[in-house]
Structures are given as C-alpha cells and as structure tokens.
C-alpha cells in the first residue's frame, strides 16, 4: 500500500517547503502521524518510497524524536510536563492521580484505546504550573482533583492524536 493521489498532493505541498526530500522527512512523518495516530511499519515504508530515502534513515529519525510514535497511541495523548517548575508546584500528586485514574504507567495506553500518558519536557507554560497538554490544548494549574473532570471532558471526543 502506498500513498494515493490525494495523499500525494498533500505531501507534495509539504515537500515544496524544503530544499530536498530528506529535509521534508520529519514533516512527512508528522503528516502520517496525524492521519494514523502513529507511524506503522507499512507507513514508514510508504514514506521511504515517497521520499526515495532508505527506511532505516527514517527509522533513525522517528526513534530519535520524542513525539514521533512508532507504536499505536490512544485517541488522546496526555503530555504531562515533568520539568522543574511543575515539579516545584507539586506535579507529583497530579501525576499520581492521572496514573491511578487511568490505571496505566507512563508510556502506556488505556485498554479502551482512549488515552496514552507521556511525560514531556517543559511545555513552556511554567507560570501555570503544574501543566499538561492533551492533543493541542494546554491545561493550567492542574490540581489532583481537577484530573477526573479533565478526563471526563476529553473522553469520547475525537482527538487530534500526537
């Protein structure tokens, strides 16, 4: 299975912003991830074929970056900041509550496929610590008690994965 004509048109537009195929590889893989939620082995081959690059080179990139996923993720990826300002403002109780509510550890996905929990580097929202990001939305000054309502509000809504 490779990219269809419609896909190729979108990818060509992405490709046009770069000097060569290699430079476009991260953006093309991000496009795949928006479509599929992650980059499957098949999709990696498709990208390699489209960009005429060795799949191993793309694999090297995909595994280097924190937010390119080579495994399936949930509909919503919860990115919890684990950097210093959030730590100082008490992230541990928030993180504990998240793990308890979801019944998973960092890096795992809930059985119903709704949530993946990932610790991430400083989200640049330190004045609102502790903070987390779900899909593209930031949540400010999250308390442990707010975790339930956040999950309830997000659950069931179609996510923009990754």
């Amino acid at each position: 299975m490779s990219f269809g004509a419609e896909d190729r048109a979108q990818l060509d537009e992405i490709r046009s912003h770069y000097h060569n195929a290699r430079a476009a590889s991260v953006s093309v893989m991000r496009w795949v991830q928006r479509r599929d939620g992650y980059i499957s082995d098949t999709a990696l081959q498709d990208v390699a074929e489209y960009l005429e690059l060795p799949a191993a080179d793309l694999e090297g990139l995909a595994t280097f970056y924190n937010l390119l996923f080579r495994k399936p993720v949930g509909n919503h990826v919860i990115k919890v900041c684990d950097s210093v300002s959030c730590w100082m403002c008490g992230y541990e109780s928030v993180h504990d509550r998240l793990r308890n509510c979801l019944g998973i550890e960092y890096g795992d996905t809930t059985e119903d496929g709704e949530f993946t929990l990932l610790p991430v580097v400083c989200l640049g929202n330190c004045d609102n610590a502790p903070t987390l990001m779900i899909n593209d939305d930031l949540y400010d000054r999250v308390s442990p008690d707010a975790v339930d309502s956040i999950l309830k509000a997000v659950r069931g809504h179609g996510g923009d994965r990754g």
Binding site: H17, Y18, H19, N20, A21, R22, A23, A24, S25, V26, S27, M29, R30, G60, L61, F64, Y65, N66, L67, L68, K79, D82, S83, V84, S85, W87, M88, C89, G90, Y91, E92, S93, V94, V120, V121, C122, L123, G124, N125, C126, D127, N128, A129, P130, M133, D136, D137, L138, Y139, D140, R141, V142, S143, P144, D145, A146, S149, I150
Partner: protein, 456 residues
C-alpha cells in the same frame, strides 16, 4: 519610564495597566486572537520593514544592529551585529543564504517565545523580513517545537498575508531582493535548540550538533551561510529600526540594551512573563513586579535563566539580571527563565529534576554526556533515596567537572551549572540526605482550585 507587566493568569490592576509601555509585547492581549494583517498594519506594523528596504542599505541595517548592542536572547548572549558581520556578502558570496528563527523553546522555566509567537505572529514575520534584508538572505525558516503547532498555523496565516501584500516573494517592495519564508515544526528534542543540531534537524538528518568551526554564518544549512537567532532577539529588530539605536540602548538599566522578557515561575505570588528594561534586579523582579513570594513562603534561591544557569541565593537579590552583571557574578542570564524556590523546596530535589531532564535530552552523540549524565542522575537519586555513601558528594562534584568540558557541545556544560552551584551554596542540604535520605518532594500548593483549558 516604561514598566511592563505581562502576566496571563492574573488580571493586571488598572494602576499597573496605566504604567504599561511595552515594546515587544505591546500589541499582545492574552486571551484575544493575535492581530491579523490589517490590525498589525494599523499599529504601524511593517512600516519599519518598509523603512529598511526602501531607505536603508543592508549594510546600514547591519551597522544599526551592531550599534544597538543587541545580544542574543536564546541563552548565549552573543552580540547579534557581530554574528551578522561573519556572513559573507557581495556578488561572489555563496547563495542561497539562510536565516532561521529558533523557536524550539524547551529550556525548562522558559515561556517567552511561546508568547511572542502566539501573541503577535506578524511581528515575527516582519522581523524575519528585516533580518533577511540586512543579510541579503534568500530563504528563511521559523523552527518551532511541536507543542507550538497552533503557533505554526498562526504564523503560516501571517506569512500568507505577507506574501499577498508583496512583503514576501519576488522583488519585495520593488527592490531587486527576493525572499521566501517557511515554518518548520519539529518533533521534540531539546538538542534541536542548539544551533548546529538545529541545522541538521532542518536538513532531515539526525539532529546531533556539528563541530565548529566552520560557524553557521560561514557554512550552515547545506553548507551555505546561515544565521540562527532566537525569536525574542529577532522581534527587537522592527523596534530598533523604527526608534533608533540610542533609544534601544537607553531602554536598558545597565550596560546592556533593550527590554527583556523575564519568565518568572515557581513560588512567587504572580508568576508570568514580564517585559522589563534589561537589568532589573532579582529583588525588584520578585518583590515589585511579581508581588513577592506566595503568602507564607520565603525566598530561598532562584535560577536566573532556565535550567542551565546557576543558583542565586538571598545575598544575590540585588544583582541586576542582565548579561554583563550576571557574567561578572560567574552566572549567566541564559533565557531569563527565572525559577524561584521557597524555603520548602529541596534544592537537591530540584537538581535531581534538572539532571533527569539533561540526561534524558542528551542526544547520545558523545560518550561523556550520554553515559555521564544518567550516571550523575543515578548518584543524585541514590542520595535522595538513602543509598549514598560518604564521599559521594565529592564524586558528584569531581565527575561533573569531567563530563562538561569533555563533551562535544554545551548541553552537559549546562547541566553543570545548577549542580555545581548547588553543591557550593547548599552543601548542608546535600549532607542532610547522606544520613538516610529524605523525601525531596515539595508539598503541592495550588493557587487556583480548578484547571482551566487555554488555547495554546
């Protein structure tokens, strides 16, 4: 005098609003969408660009930037005009020339570029055009971390409007100069903020840093002359062009020029972004602008410029937060991400958190950093969990001093700052852990009862 307060979560009082004369954040209203093309034009936007392209030679703009004493806001503080002077110019110089806005903001405690990108994308686009003109660049990229994707969309819309107005593309404003501008959204690694790693990232290679020389100004993206600047540095340019170098130099309270966005986080009453004249003291920043420490909390220490800078203690509260004075004090302004710790914050816990960050974000290219930082993190973890032996503190100090200078790039040197300064300034805290370990977690405290969702 200008006193600029910019803090999202707390509504500024009317008195404070009345005093505001911001420069870089002037047209940013938190919660409102950023100005579109028409709105930005109505504030006088793109006029400095017009002034530059129509009346000032590229050489003249470069001279203005040099005279303004603008220093890089991304962490290193290198004089922008000097860096620009390294770019080969003239008919026979290599082409294309590139300029890159570094918006891979991932330094813990730093959140100024997010505000500038999301709050006023046209200001950044205009800044890129002015920089492009000054350096006679052909292609520009705005490099963003993936969590700022909303910002990328805002910038793409702004870029489209600028193309439609003839401010980007071929023969800009009737000149012989053509310039194209793109955004690139990365996929998340701290090392991409290091300028040579960023070049590899943009080329689609594994983003390890490159050896220098050659410097990017001579041989950068695909071997062509390339200038990489932090977002905040760039957005100073329209204002320097419009108001002159003397005005810009006078904005600073000390020898350094301009305003500075101080990102204050931690245990102060009103954390937030504060655009202030560069050179305010730590005391003024915390007690006059941020409303002091949270009720019931006392100041213990602060890190002035993101994760890679050194601890400051109460006896350093009167140090001006600028490049020159902090360098004199053996510290660095870094990104001006000021992280303020209170009396309950464990310095050892803080250093452990920072070391975890550095160990995780080491790109793995060179052995001292890849192997050394996780090992240091392990020593610190042993310490807080009660597994340390006498002599481990000396070991921490000794090994950290070996790792930093023997690493390929500055990442591990950055990790050195907080650890070595904490060992000197808070030895008793480390020693306390030697006995039997302690829980380094600070008690959580939340100033707002509910989490609020904000558009990123």
């Amino acid at each position: 005098m200008l006193w600029i307060r910019f803090s999202k979560p707390f509504a500024a009082t009317e008195e404070i609003v009345a005093e505001i004369t911001p420069v870089l954040t002037r047209h940013i209203v938190e919660g409102n969408p950023p100005l579109d093309f028409t709105g930005y034009r109505a504030t006088g936007g793109y006029e400095p660009m017009r002034l530059a392209v129509e009346t000032l030679s590229p050489r003249k703009v470069r001279e203005i930037v040099k005279e303004s004493n603008l220093r890089g806001r991304g962490g290193a503080g290198f004089p922008t005009g000097v860096k620009w002077g390294f770019v080969p110019q003239g008919k026979d110089s290599p082409r294309p020339k590139y300029i890159i806005a570094n918006g891979d903001e991932m330094e813990p405690g730093t959140f100024k570029d997010r505000l500038l990108i999301h709050g006023n994308p046209h200001q950044l686009v205009e800044s890129m055009i002015i920089t492009g003109w000054a350096l006679q660049a052909d292609i520009g990229y705005i490099f963003l971390r993936p969590e700022y994707e909303t910002g990328a969309h805002l910038l793409e819309a702004a870029i489209e409007e600028a193309y439609a107005a003839g401010f980007l593309g071929d023969n800009i404003l009737g000149s012989h100069w053509s310039f194209e501008l793109h955004t690139h959204t990365s996929a998340g690694r701290y090392i991409c903020g290091e300028e040579t790693a960023l070049l590899n990232a943009l080329e689609g290679k594994r983003p390890n840093p490159r050896s220098r020389p050659p410097y990017p100004a001579i041989a950068g993206l695909w071997g062509k002359p390339t200038i990489v600047q932090n977002i905040e540095t760039l957005v100073c340019l329209p204002h320097i062009v419009a108001n002159g170098t003397e005005w810009f130099r006078r904005l600073g309270l000390t020898k350094d020029s301009g305003t500075k966005l101080y990102c204050v986080s931690g245990m102060v009453k009103h954390p937030g972004n504060y655009e202030l004249p560069i050179g305010v003291t730590l005391r003024e920043l915390i007690y006059e602008h941020c409303g002091g420490m949270r009720n019931g909390h006392d100041f213990k220490a602060a890190i002035p410029g993101g994760a890679s800078t050194m601890f400051m203690t109460a006896d350093e509260l009167d140090t001006p937060l600028d490049f020159t004075n902090l360098e004199k004090a053996g510290n660095r302004l870094g990104t001006a991400g000021v992280i303020v710790a209170d009396q309950n914050t464990s310095i050892v816990g803080m250093v452990l958190n920072l070391m975890h960050f550095f160990a995780q974000e080491s790109c793995g290219w060179c052995t001292p950093c890849r192997e050394g930082l996780p090992w240091i993190e392990g020593l610190l973890r042993d310490l807080v969990e009660g597994r340390s032996q006498k002599g481990d503190l000396q070991l921490l100090d000794q090994e950290m001093r070996i790792i930093g200078p023997n690493s390929f790039c500055a990442l591990a040197l950055g990790a050195e700052g907080p650890l070595l300064s904490a060992l000197v300034k808070f030895p008793e805290e480390f020693e306390a852990y030697l006995e039997n370990g302690l829980d380094p977690t600070t008690p959580p405290e939340h100033t707002a009862p509910f989490a609020t969702k904000v558009e990123s």
